[in-house]
Symmetry: D3
Subunit: 245 residues, 6 copies
């Protein structure tokens, strides 16, 4: 099975983090292909940045059309996800929705640990769009500016662990979601030290994408996730334009 993972952020260092965690999780017979957003920002924290990253992800994925059995949009907040699902007749999985699926199977209420204060609103709206606000115990985040997006985990490990514990003890979280591609892999190191399950977005996305491909539930020929109706278009990258024809 071939899975394409697109990083909607433009940082290669984040792509590398995602790839490392994804390879640790993927089944032996899964082939992973990585791609990085061809345009956009280094690290998505806001709705506008997600808008750009979502479109960039669609453009990147379109380049690989026909070569993947499943697609992962690998930024927490799932930039452009619902739209991208319309484009392809294979499973398309977002990091947030995958983490939410894991968390919901492991407990009733979850908390999200995030890397910046600004990112909270976008994450909350993403949870709401998934219809799961009633299961969100809290979002907690680092408050200080980040020195380097590639080393957030090491720079702030004590604070990240402390926030996870507070979410359990003060917010009633049954499960902790460690959010954001820059925190890929943190769940593993936190696990022994947090008294509830800790969920990672990248590994959840890889597993759930593999599952959906394996379940082969069929694709949408009708309904709101079918390919957009054919109509005139303009100024799109050739791969994308071809996809819409």
């Amino acid at each position: 099975m071939n899975i394409l993972i697109v990083n909607p952020n433009t940082s290669q260092s984040v792509t590398d983090l995602i790839e490392a965690e994804a390879r640790r999780t993927a089944s032996p017979d899964t082939t992973l292909t990585m791609a990085t957003a061809p345009f956009g920002v280094a690290y998505i924290e806001t709705r506008f940045e997600a808008l750009v990253g979502g479109y960039a992800t669609a453009c990147a994925a379109a380049e690989h059309i026909g070569k993947f059995d499943g697609l992962i949009v690998a930024a927490f907040g799932d930039p452009g996800l619902a739209g991208i699902k319309e484009l392809f007749d294979v499973p398309v999985v977002g990091m947030t929705e995958a983490a939410l699926a894991s968390a919901c199977l492991l407990g009733q209420r979850f908390s999200i640990i995030a890397i910046s204060n600004r990112i909270q609103a976008w994450y909350r709206e993403c949870v709401a769009a998934n219809g799961l606000s009633s299961r969100l115990a809290s979002v907690r985040s680092l408050q200080e500016p980040l020195r380097d997006i590639g080393s957030v985990q090491e720079d702030h490990s004590a604070r990240l662990e402390q926030m996870a514990l507070q979410a359990v003890e003060q917010d009633g979280a049954d499960v902790i979601i460690v959010a954001g591609a820059p925190l890929a892999g943190l769940a593993r190191s936190l696990k022994g030290r947090i008294p509830v399950p800790v969920v990672d977005g990248v590994s959840s996305a890889v597993r759930h994408c593999e599952s959906l491909v394996a379940l082969s539930a069929g694709s949408a020929k009708q309904g709101s996730f079918a390919r957009p109706p054919r109509k005139p278009n303009l100024g799109l990258p050739p791969a994308l334009a071809k996809l819409l024809d």
Copy 2:
């Protein structure tokens, strides 16, 4: 006061419809500037098309930076709206949110009349993102393929009126929203024939944008609608890149 209206669809004929209705509504001392999405699809009906249209709208608006006091995103469904609001320190108003504001001030529950079946899911999700699902009585839409996006109103006038009446009588709508830029102006012709208020998105957007500019409530320097934090970016159109620096 200068208001920039960007049509997220690429059809000039739709831009012309919007402009005609906007000029009818705008105050004498308001100067309107029209822009059309530089890339995307002729008429947005799906989440993916809205993703492209949202980004295209941001690109188009960035070209005019400093020359407008208010910005209108003139497609129902408000493509990219929340993200675009982060970019500018002037009021940014979407056609849907403007129509919803008018409808909420005119009654308790509203129905949306739309031009295609496919467009319904996107509209519903837009209403939900506005937190107003509990006030949505129904969405009703044309089912047949459209001959020409520029002449929907004339081609289907009897059916559109019938759907509005059904929404009042069967769905309990207190207000009718005629949705979609191609239906701009239809509210005026329907009005005498529908026994409840009928709301148009373009004229609502123009009025509410003028109001917000006049109220000068201030812009977001903090919180989730402040300008995105400065960070490395890549491959953005120059006007947009400049805006993020």
Copy 3:
């Protein structure tokens, strides 16, 4: 255009505050007429006081029937508003619903700054009746007794500003609503000092009422906002009784 503004509180000093702010906002060609509740309490803070104030507002407005193109119910909490909308075939706008409309167009989540602890429950229920609880970040209020309803703004200016800042920093408010007719105009003085948009109820109501009149969306002949069905009535003030016949 003629707009009638009724103050559901019986305090002339509050009517004067409302009028001052309304005149600052109204278009040059709008004629404002002020009225004060003929019975009720000096300042509405509770559901019962709102019940009386709502009926008193209806009585006052009925006296002016035929002389206004739009009606504003000028107390936060919108006493009697939905009922009063049934009576008149012109737009009727409440201070709260107008402030909520402005706030929703300016951001996703808003906080309300209020003048007394007691008033919070009534405001929360009003937001809920508007279907907007999911967008309410918080309500914060003065706790101490008020020396004089006409001078709340000056007496408590530092505390009011502090609460607005806390709402932004601690509650995640994208927009601040300064609630209550006694705080009319405070938004203007706060604006430079609060890092998000600040919304005032009176000026929002005036602008939105003017917009609805200008949009002339039509009135309700059917549905739940049509005039109440004719039936025997008893003991109503003559102007009101006439309206129901």
Copy 4:
């Protein structure tokens, strides 16, 4: 125990219907006193009529202050109820909230059978204000004009029974609420013929009011149901004015 029942409608015939049903239900040691709204409309169907009826009910009840241990607001839709609860330090029960309490104890989802189409919106909003929309299976109502408010039950008995059956079979109702004082007693005659519990508002209100008095849970000295704060008032009936001092 003394219970005062106020009919917010001005029709003596409806008061008589309410009284007959209430006497059938009340405990032997309960003394019932009836009062009829001193002003308002013959039969409340709309929000405005409820506004008047709510205030009229408060005025009527204030005349009896000190002479009752519990108060019932005897119109479905509970006009003015939350406000009236603030006034008295004895239990105040509305017909709708009482019927909802019975229905919720008898099943998960309920349907409401009503006497006019117009009344539906008001009822729905009342259920929503009680926070119980998720348990409302449907509202069904007579559509035709009523010949006489005092004889609705006899005039439309077959249609009322049919609607109750449809609610069970088509809408998934576990319980039927027969709504509106003019239908007081209908539940008894329907009961054998409907395959789920049928709830009557008047008898529910009498029983629940007796229960609350007996439970003597205490009254609100603080919080949002405490007596409104003392403040200047104007033009209120003497009994009401005295209550607020």
Copy 5:
């Protein structure tokens, strides 16, 4: 009237507490029969314990079939309640739903005071299953381990009172619910010292069960609370098996 009260906990001391409070409340002509769960745990705090207690309650009640006119499931959290309602054609009332009914009739928002931290999740989910989360102001609980389930009230009286006051002052509770059979009767002793109504589950359940029996609204022959369809069963206690045939 005969009412059977089943304690889903296996502690006889808790059954005694419940019985004492129930006898204080019951009408003179009500005969109470007590039963204790024949298997399960001493005091239910978790979902699993409630699962066992719910089934044990059904088994206990089935032994008394034909001898009661109403049944009370006397543990807060209402273990197995909705299922048990399907079994009997007489009213079945849970302690939580009864307390919620009382609280909703006495105010808009309520807080729950509970005896252990662990029990909070179960209570919250029970409130949610009743559709009343929007009226829940807070849940507050003792944090320390309990010395003896039979003497919680005396051991922790000061802390319990303090939590109730905090719920009023900090959480906006209009009503306090004292939750859990081990706190039966505490409401009476707290009442004078808490400035809002205080509701007790046992006495509410007794009163509301008596009311439902008296109202004789009929039982479910169809719909989701009718007796389960006949089908093969296996390994059930004889009384229960007989009930299903």
Copy 6:
């Protein structure tokens, strides 16, 4: 990896259906063990039947303690699931929650196709307990009595397919969930003929359980899914009693 699958129904024929579908899906290195409820009913359709089935499932699973890495509760409606999760420190997955997870990853709104009218209420409440009511497009079910629970698929294949199509075309379903263990495998045969993804509960549960085991997110030592606190218990099967000590 060892996975224990417990059928909460007592029918061996249903266990066989589940096993066949599970073996088709499981990874080569997964060992499946099947168990059937030792007591209860042949096929669970109601809340009471689910109460018994949930407890029976716990009893059955406790017999296998220490021999499984993951547990599947294999009846749609997830009888006893949240309680059972508290008992084991390995992942416990329900058929419904697994199907919902798959459906949510494949689209926005889903419909459930069920085998009897009676079962609908239980399914709806299960979806609500998962917090996903806003994504439920509809539940459609067979209406006629079932000849044989083991042959539902063949007996009603045309009707089941028709209901799935209606859910897509009339209810706006993006995904179809074929619900109930007796329909295990139907998704595969329907797939080519339904124009949207079709989800099966058994195969979803197997895949998601395998994923959770592989992700090894850790178990709950605190919070609401930790093992219930030690306390006296009575009359439990030895394996279960041991688990609680």
